[in-house]
Amino acid sequence: MSVPAASRPVRRLRWQVAAWLWLACCGVVGVHQWSFWRASHFGTDVMALLPQDEQSPEVGRATRQLADQATRQVVVMVGAPDWASAKKAAAAWEQAAMSSARDETMFTARPPFRRSAMAGDDALRDTLAFYAPYRDRLLTPAQRAQLEGAPPATLLQSALAALAQPGGGFRLADWNADPLALWPQWWLARASETRARPRDGQLALSDAGLEWVVLLEETPGSAFTMSGATPIAHALAQGRAAAIAAVPGARVLAGGVPLHAEYAASRAHLETNTIGWGSIAGVLVLAWLAFRSLWPRLLMAVSLGVGVAMALSATSWVFGEVHLLTIVFGASLVGCAEDYGLYYFASRQGAPAVAPLRMMSTLLPGLALALLTSVLGYLALGLPPFPGLRQMALFSVVGIFGTFVTTVVWFPWIDRGGPGRTRFSDWVGASFARYPRFGATRRTWIVHAALAAACGAGLVALRVNDDLRQLQGSPPALVDAQREIGRLLGVASPAQFFVVRGTSADDVLQREEALKARLDARVTNGELAGYRALSDWVPSRSRQAADAALTKRVEDGVVAGVDQVLGETQQRARFDAPALTLAAWLASPAATAGRALWIGAVPRADDGTGFASVVMLRGVRDLASLPDIARSADGLPGVRWVDQVQSVSALLGRYRRTMSLLLLAGHAAVLGVLAWRYGRRAWRAWVPTALATAGTLALLAAFGQPLQLFNVLALALLLGIGVDYGIFLLERENADAGAAWLSVVLGAASTWLSFGLLALSSTPALHAFGLTLSFGILIVWLVTPLYRPATVPPRKAP
C-alpha cells in the first residue's frame, strides 16, 4: 500500500501553501495566547467539572448558588477546655495568621485573610425595622401551638409574671405591640440556623466540654496562584502553631472552599510540572540516544508547543476558562503527541536518501490513520456530560491535532539532512529482528489459552465502585476538619436538599410549609437539628393571615386582662401592614440571610410550575437516615429530594456501563477501519490493544483497584493510542521495519512515561486514568511486535 504513495509525485506547491497557512494560524493563536497569559483564565472549582443535573436546570442553579455563597469563606475554630483559654488561643491564632502575610509578600501583596464582615449595627437595626410592621404575622411552630392550645387565663398569668420579673427587659417592641414577648423568641429561632453565638464580641459555642471561638475569615482574592505557593495554608499553620504555643492542648479546626481550592491548585501546579518536565526530560534523553542530535528534539518541542498553545486557546475560547485539572491531564499529551515526530525522524534516519518531503508524503496515510484513532479515543472522553471531561477531550484533540499538522506541514521544510544513526538506534532497530513473534504453533495456542484464563479470572475478580466520594481529592485531615466544623456549627449541608417548585412565589412558600410540617416531626424526634427554608423568613400569605388573626385574638385578650388587673387603659398596637411579600423581602437588607435559598423563575414545567426554592437540612444525626428523610417529599406536589453525591454517583455508574458498551463498539469500528486499509492483516494491529485492554482490567483487579468510569475512559483512549503502534509497524513492514520499531519504542516509552507520571496524581480520577493507561501502554508496547507478519527484511547495514 505504501508503495504507490511513495511513487506518487509530491505536490510541492500545495505543501508550501499549507505550511504558510499554518503559520498564519499559529500567528492568530499567538496573539490570543498573549492576552490569555496576561489575564490567567484558570479555574479551580471542582464543582465546575461535575455534570449539571440532566433533567432539571433548577438543581444545577441551586447547587451553584449554594456553592457561590462560600467560595471565599474560611471558618476557623479554636477550642480549649475553658472560655478564657479559648479566647487567648484565638487571639494568638489571629495575630500569627494575620502577620504571616508579611512573610508572604513575595507571593501576595495582601494579607491572606480579612475579617468577614459580620452583620453590623446598621444592618441589624435595618433588619429589625424592616420586620417590625409584620410582627403579628410571624410565629414559630411552638408559639403557634402554644397560642392555640393554652387557656387565656394561663397566657394572662404568664404576661403578668413577666411584668414582675427582675430587671427591665431589652424590648424589641413596645409592651402593647408584643405583650407576650413572642417577637424576641421568633428572632432566636431564626438565629438558630447556626449554633454559634456572640460572646464577648466573638462568635462562640460550647460542645462536649470544649469552648470554641469561631473566627470567620475571608480570602481577599482567588485562591489560585500560578506560583503554586500556599499563603492560606501557610497562614493557617502559623496560626495553629501560635494558638498551641499560647494554650497547650488547644484545638484548631479550619475549613472552607479556599483551603481545598488552594490545595488543589498547589497540587496541580506540582503535578503539571512533574508530568510535563518529567515527560520532556524522558523524551529528551530518548531522542538524544536515538538521534545524537538536538535538532529533531527542538522541532518536536516546537510542534508540541504549537499544539499546547492551540489547545489552551481553543479550550478558553469554548469554555471561558481552562481548568487546572485539564492542564494536569494535558501535560500527559507530551508523551502522546510526540509519536508523530518520532515516527518521522526514525523513518528519516532509516532512509536518509529519501528527501524529507517525499518521506512525509509516504508516511502521511499511516500518520493520518494514527491521528484518527487517537482523536476518536480522546473524543470518547467527551461523551459523558461531564464538563470537566469535555474540556479535557477538547484540549487533547486540539493539542494532538496541532502537533500533527505542525509535524506534517513544517518538518519537511525545516528538516535539512536527517539525523545520523547512533549505536542506540541501530541496537533498537536490530532488536526487532530478534524479537520473538507468535507463529501458528502449538506453543502459541497454549500461551493464548493461559492468557485468556488469566484475563478471565481478573475480569471475574474485578470490583465496580461508582461512589463519587472516592473521587474526593482533598487530604483526609482537611476533609475531617471540614466535617467537624459542619457538625459543631450545625450548618446546613449543600450536598443534599429539597427543591420546591410552585406556580408562583407564594405557591412555592405554601408547598415549603407543607414539607416543613413533615420535617418538624423529625426535628422533634431528633433525626434533624433543623432546616433552612425561605418560608421561615417569609411565610406564605395564607400562613401570615392565619397567624395575624391568631395573635390578634390572643393578644387583645391578654391586653384587656392586664388592663383589668392593673387598672390600666392600654390598647393592643395596630398592625395595618399588608402581607410581607417575597419580592419586598428580597429587595430588603433582611434578605442577606437566605437569598441563596431562592432560585426564582425556572423554565415552566408541564404541571405549570415556574418558580423554585431550596430547603436545606441542618444537623442530620445519621447519614444513613437520609433516604428515609428523603421520603418526606413523597406525595407532596412540587417537592423533590436532591442528593448530589448520590445522583452524580448514579450518573458515573450509568456512563461507566454506556462507555463500556461504546468501548466494545469502538473496538469493532477500529478493526473495520484497519481492515479497510490492511485487509486480512488488520487483526495484527488490533489484537495487541484488545489483549492490553483485557490484561489491564485483570491487573486492576489484581491490584485491588475498583472499576469506575475513568478506567473505562482510559481504555477508550488506549484503543486510540494502542493501535498506532500496530499501524506504524504494518505501514513500514516492506520498507524499513527497524525504523518503524524504533519509532514505536521511542513513542511508547514517552507515552508510558507520561501516563505513568499521571498515575502519581493525587486527583483520584486522574490517578485511575494514568494507572490504567500505563498498564495498557506497557502491554501494547511489549505485545505488538509479537503479532508482526512473518517476513521481515533485515535492516540494511550502514
Partner: protein, 206 residues
C-alpha cells in the same frame, strides 16, 4: 421569663466588645467599701416604670445570691413566682415545688452568657461587669458609693442606656434605664451575709 428572652436577644447582638479592659482607678473605692459575702440573702422591692403604663409596677419578695451558684428570686407580691438563674439553667419554681425549665445552656446556646450578665448585675461582680461596661464610681459620704455602668458596646447601648448601683457595705439599689424609656429601680433591704449555703438553700438551685 421575659427578661431572659430579651437578654438573649441582647446577647445575640453583642458584637465587638473590647473585652478585659481594666476597671477605672476609682472603682477601687467601691471594692474597698463593698463587702461581698459568699452568700447574701435579703428582701427586695422592685418598681418598674414602663412606657404605655400609667402606674409603676411594684413587686416585692426575697432573694438569695450565692457566689458561683446562682440567683434565687422569689416574688411574693403582687403574686407568687420564683425565678432561678444558674450558670447552666434558668427555671421557675412552681407552687408545688417542681421546676419548669425556661431554657438550658445546652439546648439554647447563649443562655450561659445571658446568665452571666444577669448574675453579674445582681451580684455586683465588678470584674465581670467591667468587661461589658465602662464603670464610673463616686464616693457618697464616709461609707457610701455609687457606680454608673455604661455599655461599652453600641449594640447593647441600643437597649440599655445605663445601670446605676449604689450602696455601702452591701448594694442597696440597682437602677436600670433602657433606651426605650423604661426604667427599673430595685431596692434591697434586710441583707444577711453568710459564709455558706444552708442545705435547704442549696436545694433551691437544683
Amino acid at each position: 421569663m421575659r427578661i431572659v428572652r430579651l437578654l438573649a436577644v441582647a446577647a445575640a447582638v453583642l458584637c465587638g466588645v473590647p473585652a478585659g479592659a481594666a476597671p477605672a482607678a476609682d472603682v477601687a473605692l467601691v471594692r474597698e467599701r463593698l463587702k461581698i459575702a459568699p452568700v447574701l440573702k435579703g428582701e427586695f422591692e422592685q418598681t418598674k416604670t414602663l412606657k404605655g403604663f400609667r402606674n409603676p409596677l411594684v413587686s416585692r419578695g426575697e432573694f438569695l445570691v450565692a457566689r458561683g451558684q446562682g440567683v434565687w428570686w422569689h416574688t411574693q407580691q403582687p403574686f407568687e413566682t420564683t425565678l432561678v438563674v444558674t450558670s447552666t439553667r434558668l427555671f421557675t419554681r412552681n407552687a408545688d415545688g417542681s421546676a419548669s425549665d425556661l431554657a438550658d445552656a445546652q439546648a439554647t446556646p447563649g443562655v450561659q452568657q445571658v446568665n452571666e450578665l444577669v448574675f453579674a448585675l445582681l451580684a455586683a461582680d465588678l470584674d465581670a461587669l467591667a468587661a461589658r461596661f465602662t464603670l464610673v464610681a463616686q464616693p457618697v459620704g464616709a461609707a457610701g458609693w455609687t457606680l454608673v455602668l455604661t455599655p461599652r458596646d453600641a449594640s447593647l447601648a441600643k437597649f440599655l442606656v445605663r445601670a446605676t448601683l449604689a450602696g455601702e457595705r452591701d448594694v442597696q439599689t440597682v437602677r436600670i434605664e433602657e433606651a426605650r424609656g423604661d426604667a427599673t429601680l430595685i431596692r434591697f433591704s434586710r441583707q444577711v451575709p453568710s459564709a455558706a449555703l444552708a442545705a435547704d438553700e442549696a436545694a433551691r438551685f437544683r
